[in-house]
């Protein structure tokens, strides 16, 4: 992706997604975006600010509060030759339009024998922020990984946020783009030059020899902190940022586990039935002989996201929890 010679700039995750939209909308006039409160307000996280002035409100469209019609209309528009981006406001609202996502958007290409792909992106801000509690804090990505036909990407930093959003908009298949709400204000280095982050490719963020720690999205940043702590204790952690969770980059994970012989997975979503379960199963099926210790998963408890501070704190994954889990494997 980024060559060492690339000139870099520092911008926020939110700005990174904004630049991706600007570049792709300038490049391809079929690209448009619709969602709640995106034109006048600029998005709850400012991730659409300034786009209406540049591209007009015919391409940056405020919609009625109608998630079903938003996603369905984007599917229909895609079939009629456009390349829509739908904004879900909060990922939690995807439940309202799940039929449009998994029976229409995901299946049309396959069940109609490949007549036309549904080339669209569904942007879904997810995760814990500001004690928003049960219906505004969820990490629901595992649902979408269970549906053949979708691709699911989930960046952890501004550079991948931009590169993956641009790649998602150019992708012919439907893509769910999760963007963690707590990441929007995060600053990071982004190449000055144009680039794409390939969909379906994980990234080895740091090489290590004792244990493979797989994560993505906001939790990836916590995993880095956990790895720093463990490093000081003499535990060398290989860090993998999945970036795409469907399809999963099995090769990168299996190669790493072959080297380290230990696997831990950390994500903010509920542990039960999560992406970590799938990765555990892949490694158990294909590389169990490599393992020197049982696989460890760090995920949220099997409860809705609670509101009160101590409860949310207990629910939340932290670097300490990840480090403790990894320590227990050694």
């Amino acid at each position: 992706m980024c060559k060492a010679v690339d000139r870099m700039k520092t911008i926020t995750f939110s700005q990174a997604t904004l630049e991706a939209m600007q570049e792709e909308m300038s490049r391809d006039e079929r690209v448009f975006v619709m969602g709640e409160d995106i034109a006048r307000q600029g998005g709850i996280f400012g991730q659409f600010k300034g786009l209406p002035a540049q591209f007009g409100t015919q391409r940056i469209m405020d919609t009625p509060i109608s998630e079903t019609a938003i996603v369905g209309a984007c599917v229909g528009a895609a079939l009629a030759g456009m390349r829509p981006v739908a904004d879900m406001h909060f990922a939690d609202f995807a439940g309202v339009c799940f039929d449009e996502i998994y029976n229409q958007m995901a299946k049309i290409y396959y069940m109609f024998g490949g007549q036309k792909p549904v080339s669209m992106v569904l942007r879904a801000p997810d995760g814990l922020v500001n004690q928003a509690a049960a219906q505004h804090s969820q990490s629901l990505e595992a649902f979408f990984c269970h549906i053949p036909g979708l691709k699911v990407v989930i960046p952890s930093n501004p550079a991948d946020a931009k590169g993956l959003l641009k790649a998602a908009i150019r992708e012919d298949n439907p893509v769910i783009y999760f963007e963690h709400k707590a990441l929007f204000s995060m600053k990071g280095e982004v190449p000055e030059e144009e680039y794409l982050t390939p969909i379906g490719k994980a990234k080895v963020v740091r090489e290590g020899k004792d244990v493979t720690l797989v994560s993505y999205s906001m939790t990836m940043n916590l995993a880095v902190k956990a790895a720093d702590m463990l490093e000081k204790e003499g535990i060398s952690v290989e860090l993998i940022d999945l970036r795409t969770i469907s399809p999963i980059d099995r090769e990168t994970i299996l190669n790493s586990v072959a080297k380290t012989s230990r696997l831990a997975i950390a994500h903010e979503a509920v542990k039960q039935g999560g992406v970590g379960a799938e990765i555990s199963a892949i490694v158990a099926e294909e590389a169990i002989d490599c393992l020197d210790a049982p696989i460890v998963r760090v995920g949220a408890p099997f409860t809705p996201v609670p509101f009160a501070r101590p409860l949310e704190q207990a629910y939340r994954i932290t670097p300490d929890k990840i480090a403790a889990a990894v320590r227990g494997m050694m």
Partner: protein
């Protein structure tokens, strides 16, 4: 604001219809009827798998609407979608092969009856989810508007589907944005096994149009002329950029909800009575013959042509191979 829905009848004298349109009406209705009877036979013979929902008795609606559409206009169909697909101009061979689950089918045997589509003629798909098509048609209409064409999209739906929340969201969005979409209700009286009136708050689905600030029109859906004329007005209005409308076509589902439905919820006499009194095909024949707009010979020639086309389609479907197992993973992603 729009007032209560308007009931309309065919008013255009037959002499004003050109021969091509009359031929299209008859040929399309007969094609749908015979296609469906063939499908029914081969379903019962065990050659056609899956779930099949027949359009018999409702032919005038698809035909009257589609006579106003161009190839580049879009339709969204329903689980009862063969009639729409035929009327929109899909090739019978590839349709029949699809319903037989063959590799030569228009969906390569991946869809079947409930998920049939032919994008090459603007038929964006049947939908196995009742009420799944409203917003897709709305989006196709939005695309037409963005692309600055005067194309339209038609969302076919039944009285049962009108009770889905998807109807509300799409109708409001289409009306708020003045999109060129026609919500085409085929009120066939039955929501699967439930008489629609026992679960629906209004007698006429078109009543709901006024809640969205769009016109609502009701016609006899078994009168191809009435459907054609009412659809033409609303479609032309949509082409001019004046927004969506609801057209409710009152019709009747002659066959069961699906092929094999034991139909315990109604009597054979009820169905027979409706068929005898309102079957759109004999009604068309009687009307054009009486007015001398078409001759018996012309009608017969059309029927013969349709029979031949259908026999070829059937032969093609029956002799085509099933997909190789290797096709399972093909076409999941581009």
């Amino acid at each position: 604001m729009c007032a209560m829905p308007v009931r309309k009848e065919a008013t255009l004298p037959l002499a004003r219809y050109d021969k091509e349109t009359l031929k299209f009406f008859y040929e399309t209705m007969v094609k749908i009827r015979n296609f469906e009877l063939t499908v029914e036979k081969y379903f019962f013979d065990g050659e056609i798998p899956g779930f099949v929902h027949l359009y018999i008795g409702e032919e005038a609606t698809a035909t009257g609407v589609m006579a106003n559409l161009r190839k580049t206009d879009y339709i969204q169909s329903t689980h009862r979608g063969h009639g729409h697909t035929i009327a929109k101009g899909a090739d019978l061979k590839h349709m029949m092969a699809e319903i037989f689950g063959k590799i030569t089918g228009c969906c390569k045997g991946k869809g079947g009856s409930m998920h049939i589509a032919d994008f090459s003629v603007g038929m964006l798909g049947a939908n196995g989810i009742v009420g799944g098509g409203f917003s897709l048609a709305t989006g196709a209409a939005l695309a037409q508007k963005m692309q600055k064409t005067d194309g339209v999209a038609v969302a076919f739906f039944g009285d049962g589907a009108s009770n889905r929340g998807t109807f509300h969201e799409a109708a409001n969005m289409a009306a708020a944005w003045k999109l060129p979409v026609i919500f085409l209700c085929e009120n066939n009286q039955w929501a699967s096994t439930t008489p629609y009136r026992t679960t629906t708050s209004v007698d006429d689905i078109a009543d709901r149009a006024q809640g969205y600030g769009m016109p609502g029109v009701i016609v006899d859906g078994n009168d191809v002329f009435a459907v054609y004329e009412a659809a033409r007005e609303l479609i032309e209005r949509a082409r001019r950029g004046e927004g969506p409308a609801i057209l409710e076509c009152k019709t009747y589902r002659i066959k069961g909800h699906f092929v094999g439905d034991p139909e315990m919820y109604r009597t054979k006499e009820e169905v027979q009575k409706v068929l005898e009194e309102t079957d759109p095909i004999p009604r068309f024949e009687a009307k054009v013959l009486k007015a001398k707009a078409m001759t018996k010979k012309e009608l017969e020639a059309i029927r013969t042509r349709v029979e031949k086309e259908l026999a070829e389609a059937l032969e093609f479907a029956r002799t085509s191979p099933e997909p190789e197992v290797s096709a399972l993973y093909e076409g999941l992603y581009v």
